[in-house]
Amino acid sequence: MLSAPTKARSKPKRARPTRRQPLIAYLLLSPALVLYIAFVGIPVVGIVVISFVQWDLISPPHFVGFANYRHLVHDNQLGRTLANTFLFDIMTTTLHVILGMGLALGVTTIRSRVVRYWARTAIVTPFLLSAGVVALVWSYLLADETGPFNYYLRKIGLQPPNWLASGTWSLPGLVIIDVWATIGFTFIIFLVGLQGIPDELHEAASIDGASASSRFRYITLPLLSTSTFIASVVAFIGAFEIFTWPLVDTNGGPGIATQTVLLYIYREAFQNYLFGYSAVVSLLNVVILVSFVIVMSLVARRWVHYERV
């Protein structure tokens, strides 16, 4: 009878369990709720409060009004930092969608179970490694003289740059690391999407004489649009939060050529002890991210095909 608590309210006999529910509900919720308040709620409010003070965590904070916000305009590192982050983000998101979709299409087309299992395992494995481990591994792999990456590029006749030490190529170098490490995730999203497309559609189309390319254009691509949307949003947010590769592999350098927003927030707070200003940059980061997600959802409304099968 618990199943209809709303109806039960009118009958006094059944009202009892319903009335007793709030207490037990709050009890069950309390562990999650207390932790949520302490480690999500308070920080969210705290970040706004901290943005109005000058504070190095040692001496007591003092209120400075909008001074931290005004500093945004005069900050000569912020522009480059944002540009780095956007550039990195656009490169990785594009590669993620193209490669993730390509790999997923390929893997689902393969007939041999063994090859399919091998490819799927190998593509997803790097995603399971610690970001720190990945960053360390690639710091050796991308080394100019001793790293195997450049050795094989030279072997096939290319003249690779000194990835992590070059002002121009360090950001693309980080893109290589990021795509290797996280493509598995995008791949799974597309794999799940592809499994949702009924085989009958392809069979019917090919009996009607549709070529492989037109089947891709008119069946696969529209039915994958939801996956494409999810994959691009997740890749975009993930790339915007990039931190470990620039910290470990380039330390934001050379100069600030690979300094990303999160690394900048971290440095301002924990290296320069400008907690107030760091909070302002954090808020800016949230505003940018949220507005991008909103824009992407609006754009997506036009081309995402929500299937109703």
Binding site: P126, V233, V290
Partner: protein, 320 residues
């Protein structure tokens, strides 16, 4: 008999479409019909579709090798003597194998301690977060109370916020709780996993209420229902939450980097970073050994838990 040309053509089309294995079985069966011995089965073995498919398989074998090559290279470096590390051209099958790097790693630096720290933190979070998620999800899915929808939306809002953006205020909170530089600083903030609450709530809602009703009639309270009805019936979802949380915590780099200073208290990935950064290329073999120690179990674990992990990764992605 002569009409068998038509199904053969259809089978060819289906084969060209290159879809499911089921299709393949059907097409092979229809090609191998013994009624038409002159059909030229042998001659048509290398059809265009088959060549393309074989090429595709070869490409993906190579893609797999390329994806795993970095890990393999690190493992090879870890078993080579120091003099042969970083050899160009890269060596893939070492001649002289030694465990010297592993000896350095386990004796000269507190790496065992770091791995134990990682294990401690990960297990506490996995168990703790599963408990908080199950309890909260049950309340959201099954109980009526004021503010339920509002609270749920509040929880969900946390999913849209990149947690690292809160680094500064969270550092302050952790500092005032006197948790800085303790393993507890890595455990407590991670004990609330909103995606877990969300996922389990969705799952609990699919469980028929009749089961709980009969349990209630038998005198079971909410905790008994959770223990004997909800948990057993949604164990796949709960274990997916646990595996995904565990993978995230085990691999995390950001928070240990922020909260832990002492070498002996930090987690394994951080310890390797400190080792590489501080010693200036000293015991690089030890770094390789440590990287191998962290990589190889993940690869093996993935092969074992592949199904569940893939499902969980999908959930986490969608719930973001």
């Amino acid at each position: 008999m002569s009409a068998s040309n038509l199904p053969a053509r259809a089978a060819e089309n289906l084969r060209a479409a290159g879809r499911s294995e089921d299709t393949e079985r059907r097409s092979v069966a229809s090609t191998a019909v013994p009624a038409e011995p002159h059909a030229g089965y042998r001659r048509r073995f290398w059809t265009r579709a088959r060549i393309l498919r074989t090429a595709l398989a070869v490409v993906f074998v190579v893609v797999g090798i390329l994806m795993l090559a970095p890990v393999a290279w690190v493992v090879v470096q870890s078993v080579e003597p120091a003099s042969q590390q970083f050899e160009v051209p890269p060596v893939w099958f070492p001649h002289d194998m030694t465990l010297q790097s592993y000896r350095t790693l386990f004796t000269d630096v507190p790496f065992v301690m770091n791995v134990l720290n990682s294990l401690l933190v990960t297990t506490s979070v996995v168990v703790g977060a599963a408990i908080t998620s199950v309890l909260a999800a049950y309340a959201f899915a099954r109980l009526e109370f004021r503010g339920r929808e509002a609270l749920f939306v509040l929880f969900l809002a946390a999913l849209t916020l990149p947690s690292q953006v809160e680094a500064v205020p969270e550092f302050v909170v952790v500092k005032y709780l006197h948790l800085l530089n303790t393993q507890a600083s890595l455990v407590f903030p991670a004990l609330v996993q909103v995606f877990g609450i969300f996922l389990l709530r969705q799952h609990f809602r699919t469980i028929p209420k009749d089961l709980e009703d009969s349990a209630t009639i038998d005198g079971a309270g909410h905790l008994a229902i959770i223990r004997h009805v909800m948990i057993p019936l949604s164990w796949p979802a709960i274990s997916a939450v646990m595996i995904i949380t565990g993978q995230y915590i085990w691999n995390d780099f950001f928070w240990p980097n922020l909260f832990i200073i002492s070498e002996g208290r930090t987690t394994a990935p951080l310890a390797l970073y400190t080792l590489q950064a501080s010693q200036g290329g000293g015991p690089i073999g030890a770094v390789f050994a440590g990287l191998s120690v962290l990589c190889v179990p993940m690869v093996i674990g993935f092969i074992v838990f592949q199904r569940r992990l893939m499902a969980g990764i999908g959930y986490r992605g969608v719930s973001r």
